[in-house]
Amino acid sequence: MPDSTSALHLVLTADPSLVAIVKLSLAVSLTAVMVAAVIGLPLGALIALTRFRGREFVIVVLNALMGLPPVVVGLIVYLALSRTGPLGSWGWLFTAKAMVIAQALLVIPILAALTRQTIEDLWVEYRDEFAAMNVGPLARIRALLWDARFSLTTALLAGFGRAAAEVGAIIIVGGNIEGFTRTMTTAIALETSKGNLPLALGLGIVLIAILIIVSAAAWFARRAGERLAG
């Protein structure tokens, strides 16, 4: 990325390195949220609907993990994916895949904890109807997750926000390699350390604008959904 131009200029001219960075940031964070959703949503629903020993303890830990420190996750993933680590043969270190894993790990507790709370509240309402309709356990989870979809959208946005804002983990496992693993946040960190503060700030504003766009897209999707099916 050229140093001496302003972020506005880069945006207006659709500078290719900026475009590449934005695409990568969105790809990594959205993929991470999708992976985290596939794991976290059913997990949260399962905890909400089943009774087992130590359940309260699990919930407490899950809520606490929402604040999992990104650098710690980054370090753990780094050690796991390093050639000398257990998953070294995958060769995923310093690639976008490693960044997706690290961010997914950070987002899973958020999605699971928020889903658990939402589903538990909904279950109180739905319990009798499902019992009367003789709905099986798997069908219950699916129906509750679908009916809770608007609240869960907010949870997904929270997860996306966490992923998109993250820099500590992905700089460790991704290596901030230009053209391959450099995202908005790691680029901002780099420009800051080079003293290009105006450029870094400009990139920061671009990132916030992107977050607003994603949030708006989710809002419109929800409105459309409500009109279609309440």
């Binding site: 050639r83 679908w146 390699i177 780099l190 350390s193």
Partner: protein, 282 residues
């Protein structure tokens, strides 16, 4: 979910597929590429932005630089997570070879360090020819000094200068000596914000856009020269190392055309790196 009409479904599926493809980094470059562990000060100087396209042009190899502190970069090589290590700490590099982590160290180029500080210069070292005297003066005045404190080549050079100046920095450091554990850029940011002295490599300094009150106060002493060396990580220790591609990049760096390219990197007309692959003492 049957309210979603098939078109929306198809659109979502395509979007997901594109996302996954981007995120998993599918690309033809994956094969002719190597990972080079280098230092943040080299990256911050803009050197790689200049050099990597030239490497690609001359050798067809895509170089992916992971920039860390020198100590971390060598550790990355020890773990086999990089194919080539390119740092500037000769003693640490020779130790790396002695451990068997590499079979040969190639000198490549040098740049120099400069001692920068606030324009009002409380330790009165401006223009001093002897960097060791300058360091002594800073300690005696207890003028604020920012140390990188991160096992980087720059940090190692700084500690060597204290040692050679006869200052036992472990004993003498007080609140005037701030060890921040970060790279050259953050160190300069901190020095600029606190009117402090710090040791910087010239390339990062010239490239640095937030100088504030800082100026170069001491330069040119041969003790401030900063030698770079490049090493291929030993493929016998780490079979995954791309040894042909790695060696090809090293061969380019020390070749006449590579050395000319290195000398060609300039900022504001100033040459930053001085090739010396042929110097037996480098």
């Amino acid at each position: 979910m049957h309210v979603f009409n098939p078109l929306i479904r198809l659109g979502c599926a395509l979007a997901v597929a594109t996302l996954l493809a981007t995120a998993t980094g599918c690309g033809a470059d994956q094969d002719r590429s190597i990972v080079v562990a280098s230092t943040t000060s080299t990256q911050d100087s803009g050197f790689f932005d200049y050099l990597l396209p030239l490497v690609k042009e001359r050798t067809g190899i895509t170089v992916k630089v992971v920039a860390q502190g020198t100590g971390q970069a060598l550790d990355t090589g020890r773990r086999g997570d990089a194919d080539v290590v390119f740092v500037h700490a000769k003693a640490a590099e020779l130790a790396f070879v002695a451990e068997g982590q590499s079979t040969k160290r190639y000198p490549v180029m040098y740049n120099d360090f400069v001692l920068v500080g606030p324009a009002d210069d409380p330790a009165h070292i401006a223009g001093q020819r002897n960097v060791l005297q300058a360091f002594r003066a800073i300690q005696e005045h207890e003028a604020t000094f920012i140390s990188r404190g991160d096992r980087s080549g720059t940090n190692i050079a700084e500690l060597a200068l204290w040692l050679n100046a006869g200052v036992d920095i472990e004993q003498k450091k007080g609140s005037w000596y701030k060890s921040i554990g970060q790279g050259m850029g953050p160190a300069l940011n901190t020095a600029s914000a606190s009117d402090a002295y710090t040791l910087s490599d010239r390339a990062t300094w010239i490239h640095f856009a937030n100088k504030g009150p800082l100026r170069i106060l001491v330069q040119g002493d041969t003790r401030l020269f900063n030698q770079y060396g490049v090493m291929l990580v030993n493929p016998e220790e780490h079979p995954n190392v791309k040894k042909e591609l790695g060696q090809a990049v090293i061969d380019y760096l020390v070749s006449p055309s590579g050395q000319i390219d290195i000398a060609g990197y300039r900022i504001d007309g100033q040459q930053l790196f001085f090739p010396n692959a042929n110097d037996p003492n480098a």
